[in-house]
């Protein structure tokens, strides 16, 4: 009997490949942000490639994930600091 192993879905977030159990066919913006360790209340998530390139994904929106999709996750604000 031939045993077939399903190929793991993978995506890239801020240049890093993720292919673990957190990557699913459908993900919320918050779940994508979590891969980059950015809290949902701070996260700005965008498609980096594809037909939706540059489009922002709200943290509570669920989107379809395709193989090798690229996303960027940034923050709403940073503080900077004194020298």
């Amino acid at each position: 009997m031939e045993v077939q192993t399903a190929k793991r879905l993978h995506i890239f977030v801020n240049g890093i490949k993720y292919d673990d159990d957190r990557v699913k066919p459908e993900m919320t913006g918050a779940e994508i942000a979590a891969l980059a360790e950015v809290a949902p209340d701070q996260a700005v998530i965008r498609y980096e490639t594809g037909p939706h390139r540059g489009e922002e994904i709200p943290v509570d929106r669920t989107v379809s994930i395709h193989e090798a999709d690229h996303f960027t996750v940034t923050r709403k604000e940073v503080q900077g600091g004194a020298p």
Binding site: F12, N14, G15, I16, K17, A36, E37, V38, V44, H70, T72, V73, T74, R75, K76, E77, V78, Q79, G80, G81, A82, P83
Partner: protein, 130 residues
């Protein structure tokens, strides 16, 4: 400091299309063409960013971001000029006081953080131009 470790971290980013290179002589990593939020501010849409390898890395957290001397992003990216200027491939870079693991809420864990994850902090920094 582990040259092999830094090389492995940057290889992870390159797989995702990020152009980053380690310069051992300067003890710094250069992220090339990092996107910015400059479009609405008539500022550059991308910039190279130099980041020093801290003494004692990886036990010590990565810190700072360096912009090309003369860049219009200096003064528009959060933080003030901080520390020496280093030159990479003929381009001097001024370090700016951006401290993800002091002021931004980051908690450094050398077992999972490195120059690959610091790219997320650099993206956030240049994504919040003022």
């Amino acid at each position: 400091m582990s040259v092999e470790r830094i090389s492995a971290e940057l290889a992870l980013l390159r797989e995702g299309g990020v152009d980053a290179e380690y310069y051992p002589k300067q003890s710094a990593v250069l992220y090339r063409s990092v996107p910015t939020s400059g479009a609405a501010l008539s500022l550059p849409l991308a910039s190279h960013v130099a980041v020093p390898v801290p003494s004692g890395y990886p036990a010590a957290a990565i810190d700072l971001g360096g912009l090309p001397v003369g860049s219009p992003l200096i003064g528009r990216a959060k933080g003030a000029a901080n520390g020496p200027v280093i030159t990479i491939a003929g381009q001097p870079y001024q370090f700016i006081s951006y401290h993800p693991y002091q002021n931004e809420g980051g908690v450094w864990d050398p077992s999972k953080h490195g120059f690959h994850t610091y790219y997320t902090w650099i993206l956030a920094w240049l994504g919040c131009l003022k």
